[in-house]
Symmetry: C2
Subunit: 408 residues, 2 copies
């Protein structure tokens, strides 16, 4: 019996079990959500610290105590913060839409440009790409390195082509590789010469406090951009989706005072104010304290770490020596990114599906869903239990070995 035949026999055994397992989306598990069940508790006040009745209309940019808490947590000024609904993606869409239709700070509305190109570090986050594609902007892949996007490539593209309008960045624990942008990367992004003086950085700090192993920090790009004389370059996003509840959290966007003023003027045409009850619940859950959020994230990390360790254990034991799978151990965040042999990712995803394991679609980490080497797979280990994850990883590793053997 050949190697492949042996593997297929094992595969058929898994298939026969009719499993339903899912490694596809970066969702928190029930035990992680339970840590925030205080969000479901009663609220003993409807007055903000400045006496505002939070039940009523108004306070477009958000409650002061909530903005202060996030300011302490992230080191960005409360005065320049706009809190939003439960989805930072909505804030991103809003700002992208404003740049598209109206421009900000005197920039030409992108809809009036012949070409709008957005740099997309790859592997990257499929929802950034889907948003960009919705507007019809062209996405230009830029390779990631262990220090963030390859800045030689980014600088060259931004400097030489005025139709390059912006870049998506997940600076801390990037999605999906869990890379931390180096200080040099951040500074180069902030100061680089751009052919379009209104070049924008969409800084999605989705995992800004989502340490899994040791605690990493990322250089504050807002400060760097200001110091480099490019204060209006950066729009910075954050949310509590993976701190409290994805289904009932709050988001924020911040930028330069000028940008925030202009964005707020447009947002004021869309709403009279976001949900302040949820803002207050978030403040109450953490006693208004950034340190309480940090402590809470340690509790979350304690639940997530074994899941990541299990994934890495399987990858190490099955592939460290044979080199079939290349991967970077993530420094934190929500995902593990692996590269299987070229041309094998789709096959692995298809095999896994047959055996009852849903993976993120092959190509999802690339613009237009097209991974030119068909090699990258994003593993989202946060949702399954450890037991499910163990079975899932056995199946995934088996599928990879099958696909690699077929290829060979």
């Amino acid at each position: 019996m050949s190697d492949l035949q042996g593997l297929m026999k094992e595969f058929e055994e898994y298939k026969a079990r009719g499993l339903k397992l899912d490694l596809s989306r970066g969702k928190p598990s029930g035990d992680v959500l339970d840590l925030s069940n205080g969000m479901l508790d009663g609220l003993d006040t409807y007055l903000s610290e400045d006496g505002t009745d939070i039940r009523n209309y108004g306070v477009l940019a958000g409650l002061p105590e909530c903005k202060r808490m996030f300011s302490d947590l992230l080191g960005v000024p409360a005065e320049q913060m706009i809190l939003g609904g439960n989805s930072s993606l909505s804030h991103m869409y809003t700002v992208f839409g404003l740049l598209w239709n109206f421009g900000i700070g005197g920039s030409t509305p992108w809809v009036r440009e012949a070409n709008v190109k957005i740099l997309c570090p790859v592997p990257g986050y499929d929802r950034h790409f889907a948003l960009t594609e919705d507007f019809g902007a062209e996405m230009i892949p830029v390779p990631m390195t262990a220090d963030g996007p390859d800045m030689n490539v980014v600088e060259k593209l931004a400097a030489e082509d005025a139709s390059v309008k912006g870049i998506w960045c997940v600076p801390l624990y990037s999605n999906p590789e869990g890379v931390v942008y180096s200080e040099e990367t951040v500074r180069r992004l902030a100061r680089m010469k751009t052919a379009d003086p209104h070049f924008r950085i969409f800084e999605d700090n989705a995992y800004g406090v989502h340490h899994i192993f040791e605690e990493h920090r990322v250089t504050n790009i807002l400060t760097c951009a200001r110091e480099a004389g490019n204060p209006d370059r950066v729009f910075y996003y954050f949310s509590t989706s993976k701190i409290t509840f994805p289904g009932g959290g709050i988001s924020l966007v911040t930028s330069s005072p000028a940008n925030v003023k202009e964005v707020l003027a447009h947002i004021g045409k869309q709403t009279i104010g976001y949900d302040k009850i949820t803002q207050m619940r978030t403040v109450k859950l953490f006693g208004g304290s950034a340190d309480a959020i940090r402590a809470h994230m340690k509790n979350i990390a304690a639940l997530l770490r074994p899941r990541f360790e299990l994934v890495l254990k399987y990858l190490d034991s099955e592939f460290a020596e044979n080199g079939i799978v290349r991967y970077r151990a993530p420094m934190g965040g929500y995902f593990v990114s692996i590269d299987v042999p070229d041309g094998c990712a789709s096959r692995v995803v298809a095999l896994a599906k047959e055996a009852g394991v849903v993976l993120t679609g092959a190509g999802a980490t690339w613009p237009y869903g097209k991974d030119p080497r068909d090699s990258n797979i994003r593993i989202a280990p946060t949702y399954p239990t450890l037991g499910e994850l163990d079975t899932t990883m056995r199946i995934l590793c088996l599928c990879i070995r099958i696909a690699a053997a077929e290829k060979a």
Copy 2:
């Protein structure tokens, strides 16, 4: 001493009191908000009726039990509903933005059109106008009648000019006049011939259950449009801002199945799902029952009715005989609309401000804030206490008499 001198003497007395009163915005009062304080209570479950963990991602269109409750309340199909955040204005902005950038149902994106004209029944809602202006669409005023917009004007404009793309409607208790669209008006809107086959009706049913006096109903325009062969013409909006809390409610948009499918596809690029915790709280507050919402609205009406009666008492007693002020007693809703003598509205608002009473800006009920006759003033009596309202109305009537006397 002339009449005017006597009035000014009284005015100076009010001025000296340094009052701070506000009739400007349609905000619920504290006693009305108190009726919904159950929204602040603890939530005893995080599972929806279909077992979904509402704390987590997903359920883009909203919880089934919440959609069913609104379906029962409004007589619109749950399957065609998209629940949103706390602001129906955001839903309006989103749909307007989709029509602007992408088109819906094959319509040409409005951004590609040389002219986009939107019909605006006047007096109307300033936030509809601000939203329209934000996109740079041209606003065409259409006079209101006691039965809704003047349909002879609407039909002519829509039939003859393909750049007329849509109309804003508040069909039940219109903002600000409290007019109820007649069945004939609704049917004509639904069936009228339009030069642009993709003409849109933005049906903002903001006051759909907000009866103050007797209970009026408005013909369901979604049904009429479908029956008339124009199923994709109408986008229908509703929210709980004035049922529960403006600062923590939920909104909805509904339309034809085809429109909803297309809108959802774009919304899926903006968010993974709206706040389901607030949806569940709303369901729990009313036990999932539309009848409970109707009973709740009667309790709200009992608190609002005396405020409206007080305003009307002042208007009747001060102006019924001399005809200085023309007004329609509202049939429900949130406002009283009055017309002071031509050229006097700005002066009345300025005088009132001097005496410590903030009114909605003169012209706010017209596109671009420009009331050509400078005569319409929107009174928002819902927020002040009865005592404050009494003083406020005395001052307002005085300011009107002064402005009228100055004019004469």
